[in-house]
Symmetry: D4
Subunit: 243 residues, 8 copies
Amino acid sequence: MSEQSADLPAGVDTRHGIELDLGRGERRGYPEAVYCEGKTADQVGRIARLVAEAHDESCEGTGSGVTLFTRARPEHAAAILAELPDAYLDERARLLAWPPMPPEPTGGLVVVAAAGTSDQPVALEAAHTARFLGREVESVDDVGIAGVHRTLARVDLLRSAAAIVVVAGMDGALPGLIAGLVPAPVVAVPTSVGYGAAFEGIAALLTMLNACAPGVAVVNIDNGYGAGHMAAQIARHAPPPTG
Amino acid sequence: MSEQSADLPAGVDTRHGIELDLGRGERRGYPEAVYCEGKTADQVGRIARLVAEAHDESCEGTGSGVTLFTRARPEHAAAILAELPDAYLDERARLLAWPPMPPEPTGGLVVVAAAGTSDQPVALEAAHTARFLGREVESVDDVGIAGVHRTLARVDLLRSAAAIVVVAGMDGALPGLIAGLVPAPVVAVPTSVGYGAAFEGIAALLTMLNACAPGVAVVNIDNGYGAGHMAAQIARHAPPPTG
Amino acid sequence: MSEQSADLPAGVDTRHGIELDLGRGERRGYPEAVYCEGKTADQVGRIARLVAEAHDESCEGTGSGVTLFTRARPEHAAAILAELPDAYLDERARLLAWPPMPPEPTGGLVVVAAAGTSDQPVALEAAHTARFLGREVESVDDVGIAGVHRTLARVDLLRSAAAIVVVAGMDGALPGLIAGLVPAPVVAVPTSVGYGAAFEGIAALLTMLNACAPGVAVVNIDNGYGAGHMAAQIARHAPPPTG
Amino acid sequence: MSEQSADLPAGVDTRHGIELDLGRGERRGYPEAVYCEGKTADQVGRIARLVAEAHDESCEGTGSGVTLFTRARPEHAAAILAELPDAYLDERARLLAWPPMPPEPTGGLVVVAAAGTSDQPVALEAAHTARFLGREVESVDDVGIAGVHRTLARVDLLRSAAAIVVVAGMDGALPGLIAGLVPAPVVAVPTSVGYGAAFEGIAALLTMLNACAPGVAVVNIDNGYGAGHMAAQIARHAPPPTG
Amino acid sequence: MSEQSADLPAGVDTRHGIELDLGRGERRGYPEAVYCEGKTADQVGRIARLVAEAHDESCEGTGSGVTLFTRARPEHAAAILAELPDAYLDERARLLAWPPMPPEPTGGLVVVAAAGTSDQPVALEAAHTARFLGREVESVDDVGIAGVHRTLARVDLLRSAAAIVVVAGMDGALPGLIAGLVPAPVVAVPTSVGYGAAFEGIAALLTMLNACAPGVAVVNIDNGYGAGHMAAQIARHAPPPTG
Amino acid sequence: MSEQSADLPAGVDTRHGIELDLGRGERRGYPEAVYCEGKTADQVGRIARLVAEAHDESCEGTGSGVTLFTRARPEHAAAILAELPDAYLDERARLLAWPPMPPEPTGGLVVVAAAGTSDQPVALEAAHTARFLGREVESVDDVGIAGVHRTLARVDLLRSAAAIVVVAGMDGALPGLIAGLVPAPVVAVPTSVGYGAAFEGIAALLTMLNACAPGVAVVNIDNGYGAGHMAAQIARHAPPPTG
Amino acid sequence: MSEQSADLPAGVDTRHGIELDLGRGERRGYPEAVYCEGKTADQVGRIARLVAEAHDESCEGTGSGVTLFTRARPEHAAAILAELPDAYLDERARLLAWPPMPPEPTGGLVVVAAAGTSDQPVALEAAHTARFLGREVESVDDVGIAGVHRTLARVDLLRSAAAIVVVAGMDGALPGLIAGLVPAPVVAVPTSVGYGAAFEGIAALLTMLNACAPGVAVVNIDNGYGAGHMAAQIARHAPPPTG
Amino acid sequence: MSEQSADLPAGVDTRHGIELDLGRGERRGYPEAVYCEGKTADQVGRIARLVAEAHDESCEGTGSGVTLFTRARPEHAAAILAELPDAYLDERARLLAWPPMPPEPTGGLVVVAAAGTSDQPVALEAAHTARFLGREVESVDDVGIAGVHRTLARVDLLRSAAAIVVVAGMDGALPGLIAGLVPAPVVAVPTSVGYGAAFEGIAALLTMLNACAPGVAVVNIDNGYGAGHMAAQIARHAPPPTG
């Protein structure tokens, strides 16, 4: 094994689709993403340096070259900020973005709804992802099924969306409730919030897969990035919100 | 093992609490129940004959001696009707009762709500059980979470209940929705309705155990009898419905 | 419980969102759907009659009033055809539609890809659903991961899609492979095809939830209807295919 | 997303049904509850301040405005006590209440039975909840199934209850044993006590769902709050204990 | 593969320990057993013929050469009876034995307790096995935990046992209850009796593994043979019952 | 979807790697395989005809063109034999091969060991597969762990193997035992033989994955074809057996 | 709840059967046991003081009053030693006993076999328990199935046992191997040793429940105390070892 | 139990097959291995000393006596290096080897492919194991299924292998992709990399067991040692790579 050549492609994580020579045209406007969780701070720092260098060389003058760093622990964030001092950081969402400004939004509106306070970190990851992928995003909090009037009070906003991300732990019932009220597709994100028979998000995951209303599809537990990405793709061709 | 003595107590099933010498006073008004599923038609028929004989001897003149036969397949029903020709039979609920009339209702109102058409057999088992245990029962159908306006349209009835049984398969979200709207406790019954990741009722069971609203407790999958029994117990001391 | 009034709303299944007074405007163009699996042939037949009557009264002159019947066994199909003799029937997909012609397609292209022969019934259910919901649909078969060159040979078609449904059992790896090759979002459908540790679709479901490429969301095992519906929603605002 | 407006409703947790504009009349007498586990100490502290302010404004002169804080870690407790210095705190139960006195009890007796020493924190959470919801509560400890004579020795107390909460880990057999001895409904709480094949409470949960005696319904693992709430609802209309 | 030589050892099943050249001395008095379930009637018939031939040759004059056939379906039973017409058959237990008489009992008493009617086939398999392995056996039926007074009424018999087999489905709580009352070890057999969250015996299995009383060990679900064998081994050296 | 073009690639199953234009050179000597289970008899019959035609055209004079049909039910077998009347058929293994003669063996010896009678169909599928892939195969039956002397008696044969397939259900302990005795790698096949906590092969699968001896790798439950294929690949370059 | 009266019975743990007024005669010779894991050091210390006091009062002159403390962490051990300074302590087994000497052994020999080094703590807990319950105990280590010759080398010792405890993690195959070699019953203890698909002992547990040899029964994962107790009960009436 | 004699064989772990008197001839050339995870640093240090002493005595002049230490935490490594100061250590792989040089490679090429950065520790363990077992090893990194072109770019190397180890977490799809491209058998290693529904490697494990291409067998989650060992065995008789 040649350590040198192995390290660079290893640093540039394949999970989030950094595709240098294939598919670039098709994906223009979608930021690249680096999943930090399985990497050392050192590895993440070297990727950040690569990102800085690549930006200098090839992306000049375009706004599309945003790179996201997801699931960044404090030591990851520090390593990234050492290379990209002006990067955008949301600690609750454990997400960084560089360059730090999202592109001018295009396409339809993405609404991100969270059932409870504890679901907010995942909801923020989804919202930031969709925003840096070029969509306008609105957030709705605390619209859990136990207080259905709160959800009903936001129906107008929900119906104006081109794509809706619904984040919920515990019983995970919110996506099915919302999907029954709106024309847009719902990307459901189960969270590991809850205890006992919540089984780290399995209960919410199963609820969402069995949602009675059509128009719900599900991503992995706590996968705010994936949900935001999918929502941005869905809303890409929709007309912009009229509000 | 003495076959003769073994058969009689075997016929009189312990599962549903036929208590001849203990607790009789405390349970007055609650019908006895025979769970047919694990028994042969012949065994069930002999129990029916015992019930007829016991009634002749000791329960004369009282309405409280109703016996329920649950989970009765057609051959069970035939064997029971051979001994108790005037027994009440609901084939969809797979339930028989004898004597065939429920007692005059006392206590508060029990409402039985079913999420979908396929949940009705279990809901009927719950409703009959509560009725033969001495409660007034109202049923509400097709109030699934995908059409929340239907549930909201029945809020007045739901709020008048002293106990509510909510029967739901698939995502099992209905009990949590209803519990957030009413003051009465909710007995939730997951059903094995659904497919794929519904896992024969496990998804609904987990959803109900994780319901975000307080005031929900859960019985076994498809256990309409248990839910109806629990609801009748809960509503026992409540004032009768005013409607 | 009043049997008469209970039966009608039971016949009109809430699962697939027959919404008579709410949300109609938002959902225009999406056909209603009746999930047959938990119902008797008699119940389904009565729903078919209702559909016929409702169509005569209110939907005259529009093409949008298509009703889908999903998961129809032969006895269901017979009961429906007795009421709606010209209904469209695909026995492999266990699906009927009436009126029998899909609307003129609008929006972007939906591609439905199936990994193997045994996945075709579910893929057909998805394809018919999207078509009757108003999209143009192309199907791609036998593009499993064990013969990756077959998938690569269809990349141009896949890249022209606005939404892609990928149906796969066994290892369920195909959606992740395709999502890495295209800009459109992928709706993944695990099927119960396989044996042993495939666990009736659980293995494929987990694979899809863990897909390494972003842009994948998952519906319930064997839920072709849900996937087709979601894909039609996604492709709604996309430009029509240029081919 | 507007951070400011998002924070307040986020702080006011929907899980325990703080309903400001709906259902207040129906729920009078039931204290509000704040689930601390998924929140920061700072968030919980801000809620405590809101509670103090709301009490000053609107609940003057009534005893019904008790707020419960459940699953409070020491840092949560400190943040709450900083705002509500006279709040009641039970560290073992991880519960605080303010105002610190439960209302004068009404309704029937709630008995809380715990199988073992390790089940006591959950049992205490249930007992406090029922007490602050307005019921008289009696506790019974160490009545596990391995020493059945201990349970039998307490039968008179158990039979005087209008609702019984039974808390048990490991084999979870106690609720079924008690339900066979009493006329009142049993709310069963599995605990995560045990090891190996206890699977963090799953074994006890399954045992309780399969209890052979009718009259048992189950809440989530370790959910003492939910059980106490349900028991208080059940006992609401029962006559007060005669002892 | 040589079909001829393969068939004979295949017929003589290794699962139940037919050991021709090893351990014979240590196992004297324990009958051999043939597990029929995975075999064709033809294979089982050929084994029965071998048993007959081997008996003629070598076991003359001893009572110890009993062979058990377990899990025999009717076609298995017919094939065995064709070769061994005087074999003992209990259809409910699905068990045959030949020669048809158990040996004169030695050692201590084995008690087999069954919780419910549906558990009797497994209990009978256990009882017959222990009896043909040379122990005196007493059976106790319908002593489920929901009617604890029934169990208490049999305490004297239970305390006289040298080994107790307890057979229970559903909540599986009976072994723990009995083990807390007696000095003898309890071999617990979960059965697949029950529904829903009984999960084909898993709930009972977990309950038994988590029994709060020491002195309980568990065999596979529905494994009456294994439990009877183990109990016979345990009671081997105990003094005979004094009754 | 064009039915015509869809049917042919559907008929030619991708699962077993019929690769017409890629990888042919690398795979020479390995027969193609058609997995029948998810296909209709009609579909399988059409594939058989394609196989016959392709053989006539391109494989003349070589022995390498053997096609296997696995998991063939009787109706599949009939449809294949209608097209390929001289095909080899082993009903117990549910396998057909055409042309009906395996190639002259090359490479090292493959030994296939089965723990019990019920494991033989899977063992036969493995043995036939390895033989038709060009290896010499020896079978060993009834060498389960409960009679370890039987395994020890075959150690010489086991040690002469270049690859060993070990097939076992129930406790699945045999592969670990054998791997500790031999230098060759062991391909372990769990079978769905067993009951109760065998969980359709899961117990055996887990045992094999946790085998204490190195040199064990596992294929799917009941996957005799996969194991035989893997063993043939492993033994490919080994010296032929000297016996 | 009366704290004072609640504390004492809470301190005296019911799990290990401290039975003061029932069953004492039947259990003579079996030490009492206190399960420390769910208790605070303070609670355990108070129990130790009770044990000291009770001993002074009532057990004078007898050796049978040994009390075991199991699953004791260092702080538990310190609290116990503060009250009972001469208690026996084995830190690896996390077990204390007081009075510190086991009684003179009676009954048959108990052999405790451990598969690997990591299984030794559980094996020691079993061995100490059996010894303090009054049996002679021999230990056998490192007899895993991957080196079957080691087990065979100890067959004479194993065959001299009246009861055998077999402790194994990972694949858990050892109990089945040993049970096939000996006449005594085997109490199998799965341990949580292993990784990945060992699933904290589930793999070993399932293997043991599916052991092919009769004469194996299983206790909870890591439950050395339960296994030692059961083995002591089994060996109670057996003749003492002749060696 | 004799502590002294127990300690030494306990130190010499049976899991990795240190066979002193059996099978030595058959295994020549395979290094011994010590699994450190369940052992104390002290126990591992004593084994290291034994290894040093045994080497001095018996293995002089041969290169085959390499011993591997796997799953070594830093304290294990320190204890080993204290005895064997020149041992080879790879901290990422948590592996040590002594003597520190692998033998001169024989047999065919082993390729170790890792899907992502986080899979590298397991891949390194596999690569080192195969190398110290005497094979030439090549590593390929970052060839996940989401970027299939990367895998295709390495097809020539993959096709030159005699055995391929494929290491992947998350969706675990890579082994099936590679097996469809090459003639060599694939040993698949699921890793615990991932989150949520990855379930600590279960998702990847199931994917690999259900791989659509034949020629894949699976080892335990994260078991790089087992995979490298199996690959070395497979490649043993293959011709050396020609490159």
